[in-house]
Assembly symmetry: C2
Homo-oligomer: 217 residues x 2
C-alpha cells in the first residue's frame, strides 16, 4: 500500500517511474501480482528481482521461514519482531541503487513511514540519513549528479499515506498488505491491523476484503 | 586471493570464521570451487548465496554480461571500468550483515585493498567509513554490541597481502583471481596482471598456472 501510493504520487507528479519488486521467499508473494497490476495501471516497467537465494540462507523471520508463525496483534508489539528480516531494506535499496546506476536513474524511492519505526530499524530517518551518502560514496563516478534516495513518507503515519492515496486515485483494493499469504487479507496480523486503522483514522473508505471483522471501527 | 588470505589470517588468530561466497552469475564462477577448498582446509562452514537474480536484471558489466568482453591490461586503466558491477560490495556486505544478525556473529570481514581504490568506489576507505555505521543503524537492537565491519587490508597493497599469505601458509595455487572464467588464469586481464605483480613485488613464489608468459619479471 505504501509503495503503491508512492508510485502513483510520483507518476502523477510527472516522474518516469520503474517499479521494483523483490521475491525473497516471502509468504506474502501475492504482493508481487498486485505490484504487476499497479505497473500495468501506470504503464510503468516492472522488474521482479529474485532474491530467494538470500531467503534460503536466512532463517528465523516469520516472513520467510515456514517454521515461524506470523504473529497476530498490533504492529508495535514485541511479538512483531518476529517479522524482521535482517537488513532487508538495506539489501533491497542496494539492489535498487545498482539498477539506478545501470539505468542512469536519478533517484530511488521507498515508502517507509513513521509507523514502521518502532519495529524496523531500517525504516527510520537515521537509517535513511546514513544510507543515502553511503550509496553515493559506494557508486562515486557511476551515479548521475544529484542522485537521491527519497522516502517522502518517512515521517508520515499510514493514515497520511491513505489520504494521499485517496487524492491521487490509488485503487486500494488492488494493493496487498497481509503478511500471512492467504487468498484474503487475514485482518489480524500486525500489517492488517495497521492497514485497517490507517483507513479508519484517515476517514478513507477501506475496500479491503478481510477474512475477519474489524475490531477497530 | 585477498579473501583467502584474510580467512587464513583470521583463522590463525583464533577467530571462528564462516566463509561466504556469492554466485551472482559471474564469469569467474570457478572462484566458488576454490572458496570451498579453502573452507575445507580451515574446517570452516561455507555458505554460497545465490544472487544470480540480481545479475539477471543488471547489465553492462563484463563480469556478468556475456555480451561485454573482459578487458586486458593493467587494472587501473580506464577500460577496467567495464568490470564494475554496480554497488556490488554494498550488496554483498549487506547480505553478510544479514547473516551476521541471523547467526549472532560479531563481525563481517572483507578483503578490499588499496589496489582496488582507483576503479571500485565501494573498496575505498570512505565507503567503509560510511558503510559500517549504516549497517549498525540498519540493524539497531538486532546486532551484537560492538559489531564491526572489518577490512584490515583496506590500505594495503596486494603485495602486502601476498606477504601475509605467505606467512600464514596460504596455498596460493588453491586461490582464484582471473575474471575471464577459463580453466587456467589467463595472465592478461587486470586482475591477473595485478596478481602477478603482487607476487613479484612481494618476492613470494607465484605458483599460479597462467595461460600466458609473464610480462612482469
Amino acid at each position: 500500500m505504501d509503495s503503491t501510493v508512492l508510485a502513483y504520487a510520483l507518476h502523477r507528479a510527472g516522474s518516469g517511474v520503474t517499479l521494483l519488486s523483490y521475491d525473497y521467499g516471502q509468504r506474502h508473494r501475492r504482493e508481487l501480482d498486485f505490484a504487476a497490476r499497479t505497473a500495468e495501471a501506470l504503464h510503468a516497467p516492472h522488474l521482479v528481482v529474485d532474491l530467494s537465494g538470500i531467503g534460503a540462507v536466512l532463517s528465523g523471520s516469520a516472513l520467510i521461514d515456514a517454521g515461524v508463525d506470523v504473529p497476530d496483534g498490533h504492529y508495535t508489539d514485541v511479538s512483531m519482531r518476529a517479522t524482521v528480516v535482517p537488513n532487508r531494506n538495506a539489501i533491497m535499496l542496494d539492489v535498487a541503487v545498482a539498477l539506478a546506476v545501470s539505468a542512469g536513474a536519478d533517484a530511488v524511492a521507498f515508502g517507509a513511514h513513521a509507523g514502521d519505526h518502532p519495529i524496523y530499524p531500517d525504516c527510520r530517518p537515521a537509517f535513511l540519513a546514513s544510507y543515502e551518502p553511503t550509496a553515493r560514496i559506494a557508486n562515486e563516478g557511476f551515479l548521475p549528479a544529484g542522485f537521491r534516495v527519497v522516502a517522502p513518507f518517512i515521517d508520515w503515519s499510514k493514515a497520511d499515506i491513505a489520504r494521499l492515496g485517496d487524492v491521487v486515485g490509488v485503487p486500494f483494493a488492488a494493493t496487498w498488505s497481509c503478511y500471512k499469504g492467504g487468498q484474503q487479507h487475514c485482518g489480524t496480523c500486525g500489517t492488517c491491523v495497521e492497514r485497517r486503522e490507517a483507513f479508519d483514522v484517515a476517514g478513507v473508505m477501506d475496500p479491503t476484503d478481510y477474512a475477519t471483522a474489524s475490531e477497530v471501527s
